[in-house]
């Protein structure tokens, strides 16, 4: 005969519908989000990894001051590499005041993936990067004015070596709004003058390196040969090329972050299940006792009470995965496509995601419920009938000062009685606040960074020249510059400036042998005044050692400042070979062809611009997600607290306590815990995010200072309080509905 207890299950579901709906939504949402990200991540990662072979992505590129002749190329290719011309021209796009890096047709290396439309077929046509096109609202068929020429957009493409649109390798962040890449026909490309040509060459090894360590050794060997044969202006092995690597690293990081998020959430859900299961046993103790006394085995009862949580988890896993493979996958894919210029992909079945989002949660729920039930079922039937479920020896109540008002003592006792619930609430609040801080703090953080950079620019205009040319502009001030690399921790570039005495733009006393470093450098690498920093040459192994005299407030760049005389002495440069000018006004008397780089406010704010674009809408989404988690956790646990105390609530009603007084006993305690947790855990959350950001951004060039305005914390607390008020209102109604006869029916 079928176990008649199973007939109770639909009734149990009906009577606890609210609880099970909340748990279902909670688990389904979590699984859907994680599953969506993992499936999207794996599918995209697969496409990304395959693109290296499919599109023959380079092992590195270098730029020469001039075009290499066949003799040099032959010498280089003796190093077991294949060299490909990958020349480009950068031109301004008049339609949106952005920069396009133009390439000719790519037939052998870094091949092009057509995402929409066609490749250009005549010199008046152009195919542009898809992300750049989207960000600038360009459609196929539009006309773009590039330089002085008009081009018809024939299609959108993804260039395999520009999956992330970094204009310069030293940029902290890519810029897919003001910078894009495009492909022309060979004829179209040749129609531009040679004066702006970048003689960029890509190379591939005949025997590809096994890993990054080997790639590093091979690239260092190749660099040595290169620097003997040509005047390098840029050298970028693929393993350090952010334009190639970043998308992969980011997707990989997301997958790991999602896994951590899932397990944190599952731990919280497991805790909620543990508490609800204990609560169910308490509520059902008389029934359990009677059934046990009637001859039902422990195993039968354990199976019965495990069924609902397991069904809910199973249904959530199924629904979560369906959503994960459909809507949420699309959402995650779109997020990647919004930021990265990735090639086409195919949705792949992700076995690991299935295990993480379905098997692990089910096992977790099974173990937790089984352990709690098995432990409780050890009690005798009589104990269940008497509702005496304490497995430990009866403890004495701890003393509270009797001078404290009885209602306050009552509240304190409620808090101590429900410590596991409140711990879960606190953990949930910390977790929700982490997400909320990301959501609410992201935009102010980027805005602050942008403001800091623009208000602390050295000068409105900064020019790096191809040759040391004089200007008549009275505002111009010469400077010397070199690019070195941080020897420790990373390969990050450091801009080294040689500053003239009594500079109008850099207010520093640079008379000693020591140097000043930018605060971005100091904070990112934890360098203090008096420390010694060691740097090395970008294209050689020369090491430099400097003592830090002080920190200069320059948040945008990892930079070093020294006197011009020390600069020339250190790098063995003649005084007349200055690098460029700082100026408060535009320099107009030097021809553009002699200007290698012009740094303006727009260049410095590209990081914040792109970050804003990448995270567009994310702030609101994260905030909403944080609030939902916050509300669900508090709803579940405060509901349990009230259910657990229903008997006492009923009794206090009979005694003559008003609803307000009862609310003050059972809701105020939760309110105190919630509001105190909201406020007191804020520093913890803030420190945690600061550390996470340090770790997450350590691999990026530059420095993004952690900054959260006080108003964001106020907003978070306010959001928390308002959301809690909704829950508190619902719980007040629950208390109001507790019938008086619960106490009358009590059979202890």
């Amino acid at each position: 005969m079928k176990n008649p207890l199973t007939k109770r299950l639909p009734k149990e579901l009906k009577s606890e519908l609210g609880k099970y709906i909340v748990l279902f939504v909670f688990i389904t949402g979590m699984i859907a989000l994680v599953s969506g990200y993992l499936v999207a991540g794996k599918s995209m990662m697969n496409a990304y990894n395959e693109s290296f072979d499919k599109y023959n992505i380079e092992d590195g590129n270098f730029e020469s001051f001039q075009q290499l002749n066949s003799e040099v190329l032959k010498t280089l290719e003796e190093e077991q590499v294949e060299i490909y011309e990958n020349f480009y021209i950068e031109e301004n796009v008049k339609n949106n005041d952005s920069t396009l890096r133009l390439f000719s047709e790519r037939k052998e290396v870094n091949k092009v993936c057509i995402m929409d439309g066609n490749l250009p077929e005549n010199p008046q046509q152009i195919a542009i990067d898809r992300v750049y096109a989207k960000n600038n609202e360009i459609s196929v068929g539009d006309t773009l004015t590039v330089g002085e020429k008009d081009f018809e957009v024939t299609g959108f493409v993804a260039l395999s070596d520009y999956s992330t649109l970094y204009q310069n390798p030293s940029d902290m962040m890519f810029d897919a709004i003001k910078f894009g890449v495009a492909v022309l026909t060979d004829e179209g490309f040749d129609s531009f003058t040679d004066s702006n040509m970048h003689y960029s060459y890509s190379w591939t090894y005949n025997t590809p390196p096994a890993d990054d360590i080997e790639a590093k050794t091979m690239s260092e060997d190749f660099l040595e040969v290169l620097s003997q044969n040509t005047m390098l202006t840029n050298y970028l092995p693929a393993y350090t090329n952010q334009a190639i690597q970043m998308a992969g690293n980011d997707m990989d990081g997301d997958t790991q972050m999602m896994a951590v998020l899932l397990y944190m959430m599952m731990a919280i859900i497991a805790f909620i299940f543990a508490i609800t299961t204990s609560n169910t046993i308490m509520k059902e103790s008389a029934v359990i006792g009677t059934l046990r006394a009637s001859g039902y085995t422990k195993a039968e009862l354990i199976r019965h009470y495990m069924t609902m949580p397991m069904i809910i988890t199973l249904l959530s896993a199924v629904a979560g995965n369906i959503l994960g493979y459909t809507a949420l996958k699309e959402f995650a894919i779109n997020m990647y496509y919004n930021s990265f210029s990735l090639t086409t992909y195919k949705t792949l079945w992700n076995g690991e995601a299935f295990v993480m989002t379905s098997v692990v949660p089910l096992i977790m729920m099974f173990i937790i419920n089984f352990l709690i039930l098995a432990k409780k079922m050890k009690l005798s039937p009589l104990k269940f009938i008497r509702r005496d479920l304490s497995t430990r020896k009866k403890k004495k109540a701890f003393k509270l000062n009797t001078k404290i008002n009885i209602l306050t003592r009552f509240r304190l006792r409620v808090i101590f009685q429900n410590i596991p619930n409140y711990i879960t609430i606190i953990v949930g609040i910390v977790f929700a606040n982490l997400i909320l801080l990301f959501g609410c703090g992201l935009e102010p953080l980027i805005d602050h960074y942008s403001k800091e950079i623009t208000s602390n620019m050295i000068s409105d205009y900064q020019y790096i020249l191809k040759a040391p040319l004089e200007t008549e502009n009275p505002d111009a001030e010469k400077f010397y510059a070199n690019s070195l690399k941080v020897t420790e921790k990373s390969e990050e570039g450091v801009n080294v400036y040689g500053i003239v005495p009594d500079s109008r733009y850099i207010d520093l006393d640079l008379t000693s042998e020591g140097i000043y470093i930018s605060n971005a450098y100091a904070e990112k690498y934890g360098i203090n005044e008096g420390d010694t920093v060691k740097l090395r040459g970008s294209y050689d192994e020369t090491e430099y050692s400097f003592e830090v005299d002080g920190i200069y407030y320059y948040p945008s760049t990892i930079a070093v400042f020294m006197s011009d005389s020390i600069f020339c002495e250190t790098f063995d440069i003649d005084a007349e070979n200055f690098a460029g000018y700082f100026s408060s006004t535009e320099i107009t008397d030097i021809e553009k062809m002699y200007i290698a780089t012009e740094i303006t406010e727009e260049d410095l704010t590209k990081t914040s611009r792109q970050m804003k674009n990448s995270f567009d809408g994310m702030g609101g989404l994260l905030s909403a997600f944080g609030i939902i988690i916050f509300m669900l956790i508090i709803y579940m646990l405060s509901k349990i607290i009230i259910e657990k105390n229903a008997q006492s609530v009923s009794m206090t009603k009979i005694l003559g306590y008003s609803d307000r007084e009862i609310n003050s006993l059972y809701i105020t305690t939760t309110s105190i815990v919630v509001i105190a947790s909201l406020i007191l855990t804020m520093p913890l959350v803030s420190i945690f995010i600061d550390k996470v950001m340090d770790i997450a951004l350590s691999g990026y060039s530059g420095y993004l200072p952690f900054y959260v305005p006080f108003s964001v914390y106020v907003k978070m607390v306010a959001l928390g309080v308002v959301s809690y008020a909704v829950i508190a209102f619902m719980q007040m109604r629950r208390i109001k509905k507790v019938p008086l006869d619960i106490a009358l029916k009590n059979v202890e």
Partner: protein
């Protein structure tokens, strides 16, 4: 008349399964009177007690307490009525499990404008040395004494007792009954005690016997004896 119960009717259920539990109860009680409501299970005595206590409503009829009609009271006023006039003692104590003994009594004291001294009550009830313990650390009798303390400490006009000895052994039952008797004498509360233990009628001023929702007997006990002299 302190308590006047007039024409109280109460039924449960719908249609064919409807059961009339009280079929028209009329009863009058004096202030300070000790009344025992006797009857077998299902006679309606607990239902009547709950209606007097304002935690259940009659289908018809009314109750006045000191001239105030409970039927005219909304939920808020019923709460005030319970708060100001009533003390409740149940068979199963219904103590707040996470409060210690003294705090459980204080929960009652808090409701009164003129509460009795908590420590004095604890001493009277023999609970002073246990005041810091939790209810589940005490015996059934001690828990019932705590429930009595909680009901009495607010010095209520009416003490409603629903089978207060139903879960206790013979000796403990007699101790509890003695306590209620002493409290009735000392503080002059009107006591209405529901029981199916026929012996308890002997300590009452008034005995009301119910059966099938109707009063079968209602008389003043001329031969009242002390609780300690009861035997069953």
């Amino acid at each position: 008349m302190f308590i006047e119960i007039s024409g109280i009717k109460k039924g449960f259920g719908e249609g064919e399964s409807r059961v009339e539990v009280l079929k028209g109860i009329d009863l009058e009680l004096q202030k300070g009177e000790f009344c025992v409501l006797l009857g077998p299970s299902g006679s309606g005595k607990s239902t009547l007690l709950n209606i007097i206590g304002g935690i259940d409503n009659p289908d018809s009829g009314f109750i006045t307490v000191n001239g105030e009609k409970t039927a005219d009271m909304n939920e808020k006023n019923l709460t005030i009525y319970r708060r100001k006039h009533l003390g409740y003692i149940f068979q199963m104590y219904n103590l707040i499990p996470n409060l210690n003994i003294k705090e459980n009594v204080e929960v009652g004291a808090y409701l009164s404008d003129n509460p009795l001294d908590v420590d004095e009550i604890l001493n009277i009830l023999g609970l002073y040395e246990h005041r810091h313990k939790l209810p589940n650390q005490l015996s059934g009798g001690q828990q019932q004494r705590t429930a009595i303390g909680r009901a009495v400490v607010k010095n209520p006009d009416i003490l409603l007792c629903d089978e207060p000895t139903g879960a206790l052994d013979y000796n403990t039952s007699k101790e509890i009954l003695k306590l209620i008797e002493d409290i009735n004498k000392k503080y002059g509360n009107t006591v209405i005690m529901v029981t199916h233990n026929d012996a308890i009628k002997d300590m009452a001023d008034r005995v009301v016997k119910l059966r099938d929702g109707m009063i079968r007997k209602n008389y003043v006990n001329e031969n009242k004896i002390s609780a300690m002299d009861l035997d069953w």
